[in-house]
């Protein structure tokens, strides 16, 4: 029996599959999924075709409701969904921007060797737990009022460096220099700020975690970049590694 999606999608080439506007009445543009045939079976089971089609309803959407290969079930938008909307008559969809705005990953390099760290891994982990508040209901050691929070919102990482929580070199290796220019804290509701204040300086809760890892092999610069971006992708896909044992990879899952 042919896979059920075969009656719906049009194959453009091996890695592009179109969901026509006729799939669901009200779609302004077709859907376009970047994936392989074997992955489509899985995607179909997740019912994300519906979400790709729903995004095609958005006012002002341009060209296609797109879906990247990591596509899976999200809120409104599928995870891995991409859409452009016209500035003139289009909408900004919170589902498309992402609910965890600026959820990110940082890689901090130390000069320590595995030999130095391994005998002290327990103390190290305990120390990390003490100094990095994590988990539900945790509060950061950093205490700011709403006015100071506005400064954090405007200056970003620069604020942290000024307060002695980071080094100037950190900013150089952070995208946008750790601060998106033109931020207007006035646009953030007072309630959102109240919720954010206690979380400042914490690891957060839910699927946020910290891991201590060893660089086992140094590859070429290109490969290293690849590795980092793969980690990013893994995190962004909501993948949470299994609780690791003590050793080269200690995973803290909150």
């Amino acid at each position: 029996m042919p896979a059920p999606w075969k009656e719906i999608v049009h194959k453009i080439d091996d890695y592009r599959w179109e969901i026509p506007k006729s799939y669901k009445q009200g779609m302004s543009v077709p859907g376009l999924i970047f994936t392989s045939e074997s992955m489509l079976n899985h995607i179909w089971e997740e019912q994300v075709f519906q979400q790709v089609a729903n995004v095609a309803f958005l006012p002002g959407i341009v060209d296609h409701s797109l879906a990247m290969p990591d596509i899976h079930w999200g809120y409104g938008f599928p995870i891995g969904g991409v859409a452009a909307t016209r500035t003139k008559d289009g909408v900004v969809s919170p589902g498309g921007v992402g609910f965890d705005i600026n959820c990110g990953v940082r890689l901090l390099r130390t000069n320590l060797t595995e030999q130095e760290v391994r005998p002290k891994i327990e103390q190290l982990i305990n120390e990390l737990f003490v100094n990095i508040p994590s988990g539900l209901g945790s509060k950061g050691k950093i205490r700011v009022n709403k006015k100071e929070l506005d400064e954090v919102l405007i200056k970003g990482s620069q604020w942290a460096v000024e307060k002695g929580y980071g080094e100037a070199e950190d900013i150089v290796v952070t995208e946008e220099s750790g601060c998106i220019k033109g931020a207007n804290p006035g646009k953030v509701s007072s309630r959102a700020k109240e919720r954010g204040i206690p979380q400042l300086g914490t690891l957060g809760s839910g699927n946020h975690f910290l891991e201590v890892a060893v660089v086992a092999e140094i590859m070429t610069e290109t490969q290293l970049r690849l590795w980092v971006s793969m980690i990013l992708d893994r995190y962004l896909s909501g993948f949470t590694p299994a609780p690791g044992a003590l050793g080269t990879r200690f995973v803290v899952i909150i």
Partner: protein, 138 residues
């Protein structure tokens, strides 16, 4: 009514279905379901209360607003609620008094953090008995 609510697992999130003989009860049970995700309700005592008054364009939005209001109170005031008295509820307005206490780490075990009630798969059903469904962003 056999049960007040049930928990529905979703790929990366968690949802609830709450029941009631009327909408007031279903909304109250939805709130209990929310806090049952966060902690063990049995460990929570009623030592304080908060009054809530909300308006929204329709009943679905009202449900989301109601639960988000409670999440806000938990985040900002660290209050765990266990009992909810919905004193007024129509399509656009809700008035309620919620009873609970502040988080005490020696007494309460916090389970999962709920960031928000979402509109995704949201359902308010007034059939034979009332039933509401909400998916939470965790």
């Amino acid at each position: 009514m056999e049960k007040d609510f049930e928990i529905v697992d979703h790929t990366a999130d968690v949802g609830i279905i709450a029941y009631g003989t009327d909408m007031n009860q279903a909304f109250a049970n939805a709130a209990r379901a929310l806090f049952s995700l966060i902690t063990e309700l049995d460990d929570v005592d009623e030592v304080l209360h908060r009054d809530t008054k909300l308006t929204a364009p329709d009943e679905e939005s009202l449900l989301v607003e109601w639960l988000n209001e409670l999440i806000y109170l938990f985040d900002v005031e660290n209050i765990l609620f266990k009992r909810f008295d919905i004193t007024q509820l129509n399509n656009t307005q809700l008035k309620a008094r919620s009873y609970g206490e502040k988080v005490d780490s020696s007494k309460h075990k916090l389970k999962i953090g709920v960031k928000a009630a979402t509109y995704h798969m949201l359902k308010v059903d007034k059939g034979d008995g009332c039933k509401v469904q909400v998916l939470f962003d965790i």
